[in-house]
């Protein structure tokens, strides 16, 4: 790790605080991840990526910058990675998943704000995330009021550009979003000095679509009983998708899927065939937020899907074929992004259909609705989800929590009681 100290100094990290963060991670990862039984061998790559989370990948970004490229930070699946790549820039999902940076954020932001917002802001404010430090600017969006207003404050500390995401899935909303994509394209061209041509966008779109295809393949492998991979491992792969090199990542996900499909053929799994199969649905789980999956799988369940921004909402919609012109490609990107069934939309009944489809297709025994405290959009939508699933007789457990560990006992009681209920 000593090799990276000069890089971290160059990135103006708060070295002392950053050391504390890096000291906590290996023990936590060992406890939660490496202690799992019968992990796929191909997970070794992802273990390596986590081991180098603030090292090698950051070095790659710095090398890219040294050769004249740009690095763009983002927090949300609505921000199109393909457009950023087409400008010769590298998109990176930024750190937002740990209590570690929350106290820093609370010096500035209101405490009654969701943990994801506080964690992301705290990483910048406390200078403990090398990715935000390495980024030339951050692209925010308007997917919730908390983030929207946080970006205004973040802009005082870091260059921030905000694109608008509409609130309704109407032709007018699509028009607005398409216009926002054109605006983002112009912004990227101005920042990078690269003109986004139809050819460049086609090439970038193909890379990102290949990544999503690999993730969909992984998602489909989880239909098998017994489950060939733990929910923890599958979640980790999706989380890493946000910041790893797109080509290398895709290759490694496909290698993982080869292994999983082999397991399925021989009936090998990570949990007994009769382990309760759980679908997790709700707020995103930014790295290293593994709290709920850990409790569920420690209690004997296996998570077989995430209806989440760190799950199906990230990789499910496919980019539609088009005539390859710049306009047609932008329209296809807009249509794809707007197929994201996020609770920021009203109404958003398609999400309920998604949950039903997943519950059926993945042979789910119960759904856990995961809600970050103060995430009002998902908290309110949970009411509708609960009603819809009750009609289908699909058991649902609603969990509201944040990144702290103080409610682990209560959560475990709820999860255990839920599993007792669905096992009978």
């Amino acid at each position: 790790m000593a090799d990276y100290r000069s890089m971290w100094t160059e990135l103006n990290l708060d070295l002392e605080k950053h050391d504390a963060l890096l000291q906590a991670l290996p023990g936590m990862y060992e406890n939660i991840y490496l202690s799992q039984d019968n992990r796929p061998k191909a997970m070794a790559y992802f273990d390596f990526v986590i081991g180098e989370i603030h090292g090698l990948r950051v070095r790659e970004l710095m090398d890219h910058k040294a050769s004249g490229g740009k690095v763009v930070g983002l927090f949300c699946v609505f921000v199109p990675e393909d457009l950023i790549l087409a400008a010769g820039a590298i998109p990176v999902g930024l750190c937002a998943g740990t209590q570690f940076s929350v106290p820093d954020a609370e010096e500035v932001l209101p405490r009654n704000t969701c943990a994801l917002i506080k964690s992301s802001f705290g990483f910048k404010f406390g200078r403990t995330c090398p990715y935000v430090q390495a980024s030339d600017f951050v692209i925010g969006e308007t997917t919730c009021d908390g983030k929207k207003k946080m970006y205004e404050i973040l802009a005082e500390y870091h260059p921030t550009y905000v694109m608008e995401v509409p609130q309704k899935k109407t032709p007018l909303g699509r028009e607005l979003f398409l216009d926002e994509l054109r605006g983002l394209k112009a912004k990227l061209e101005e920042e990078t000095g690269v003109t986004i041509t139809a050819e460049r966008l086609t090439a970038a779109g193909a890379l990102v679509e290949a990544k999503r295809r690999a993730l969909r393949r992984l998602h489909n492998a989880r239909k098998a009983r017994p489950a060939p991979i733990s929910g923890l491992d599958a979640l980790l792969v999706t989380q890493i998708a946000f910041y790893d090199d797109v080509v290398r990542f895709t290759e490694n996900v496909n290698a993982l899927c080869d292994e999983l499909e082999g397991r399925i053929a021989t009936g090998e799994g990570v949990a007994p065939a009769d382990a309760p199969r759980i679908l997790v649905s709700g707020s995103p789980m930014a790295i290293p937020n593994w709290k709920l999956h850990r409790i569920l799988e420690d209690s004997g369940a296996v998570v077989v899907g995430e209806e989440s921004c760190t799950g199906t909402r990230y990789f499910s919609p496919a980019l539609a074929a088009n005539d390859g012109s710049l306009d047609a490609q932008l329209a296809a990107i807009a249509d794809r992004q707007l197929e994201t069934h996020c609770a920021c939309f009203t109404p958003n009944d398609e999400r309920i259909d998604d949950i039903r489809t997943l519950a059926g297709g993945w042979a789910v025994d119960g759904v856990v609705h995961y809600n970050l405290q103060f995430c009002h959009t998902f908290a309110n939508e949970a009411v509708k989800v609960e009603k819809a699933l009750a009609k289908d007789d699909i058991p649902l457990l609603r969990i509201e929590t944040d990144y702290g560990d103080e409610d682990m006992g209560q959560l475990k009681t709820r999860v255990d009681a839920f599993l007792e209920m669905i096992r009978r």
Binding site: N31, S35, D298, S299, G300, Q373, E400, T401, E406, D407, G409, Q410, K412, T413, R414, D416, A417, F418, L419, E420, M421, R423, R424
Partner: protein, 258 residues
């Protein structure tokens, strides 16, 4: 042949011994080292099997318990044993409040539990009793003696405590405040019960059910009669003991903590 149920709660540890019927029970404070306290309690007693429940059940899982079950299931089994027509169980414990809806055969169909805060729990009453300088056991009767009720707006234990302090400073008498506190907590619990959709018979158990004022207000707010067992605190341990006597729910199905 004696079986034991052990409910290791956040505030009390309850041991129930069962043979043909209820043989004996013991209630202790949990203290700072519940595992040690349980071991001292079990020292010299031998059982065919022991089932543990409650907040500390995982501690027991690695030592002396044959099996662990959640409080939700233990209370359901215990309440159902006492009242075979029970369909709803309300358990107000030390740090949690839980409501379970049972099927006509006694299986847990749905449950609710307070979020990560002490509002609506025994702990809330303890903190408020301290603010009013009285034993928590007397708080209920104290509230029932009130002629008026103070409005307590805050459900957060910390904020409610400061509300109590300002009411005291304003010269409000203590029964009036106590009644307001019970009303606040009963409103909160009633909301949770309604969310689950209660069916009669409703059994109210856990240490909170010892409080007469809470019983009265909760029954009024829900518009149903509440059945309170003679020993409401032991229902969870009784359920655990019954599960032990029935040979467990299903052996080894709840995994051990790593």
């Amino acid at each position: 042949m004696t079986y034991a149920g052990l409910d290791i709660g956040s505030r009390t540890i309850v041991l129930v011994e069962l043979d043909e019927g209820l043989k004996d029970f013991v209630i202790l404070d949990t203290g700072a080292n519940p595992l040690q306290r349980c071991q001292a309690l079990l020292d010299g007693r031998t059982y065919r099997s022991v089932v543990a429940t409650g907040y500390g059940r995982q501690l027991a899982a690695t030592t002396f318990a044959t099996e662990v079950v959640t409080e939700i299931r233990a209370y359901a089994v215990g309440a159902r044993h006492l009242y075979s027509d029970c369909r709803t169980v309300i358990d107000v414990g030390g740090q949690d409040c839980k409501v379970s809806l049972l099927s006509d055969t006694g299986e847990v169909r749905k449950f609710g539990m307070n979020d990560r805060c002490a509002a609506g729990t025994g702990r809330f009453l303890e903190v408020m009793a301290r603010a009013l300088e009285m034993d928590v056991g007397r708080l209920g009767d104290h509230g029932l003696s009130a002629r008026r009720m103070a409005a307590i707006n805050s459900l957060c234990t910390v904020f409610a405590e400061s509300e109590v302090v300002s009411l005291i400073a304003r010269g409000e008498d203590s029964p009036t405040i106590a009644l307001g506190l019970h009303d606040a907590i009963a409103t909160r619990i009633a909301g949770m019960v309604r969310r689950v959709g209660p069916r009669e018979r409703v059994v109210f158990a856990g240490g909170g059910a010892l409080n007469a004022c809470l019983r009265k207000l909760l029954s009024q707010k829900l518009g149903v009669e509440l059945t309170v067992p003679e020993q409401p605190q032991i229902v969870g341990a009784l359920g655990a003991a019954l599960i032990a006597r029935n040979g467990g729910c299903r052996p080894n199905r709840i995994s051990q903590p790593r």
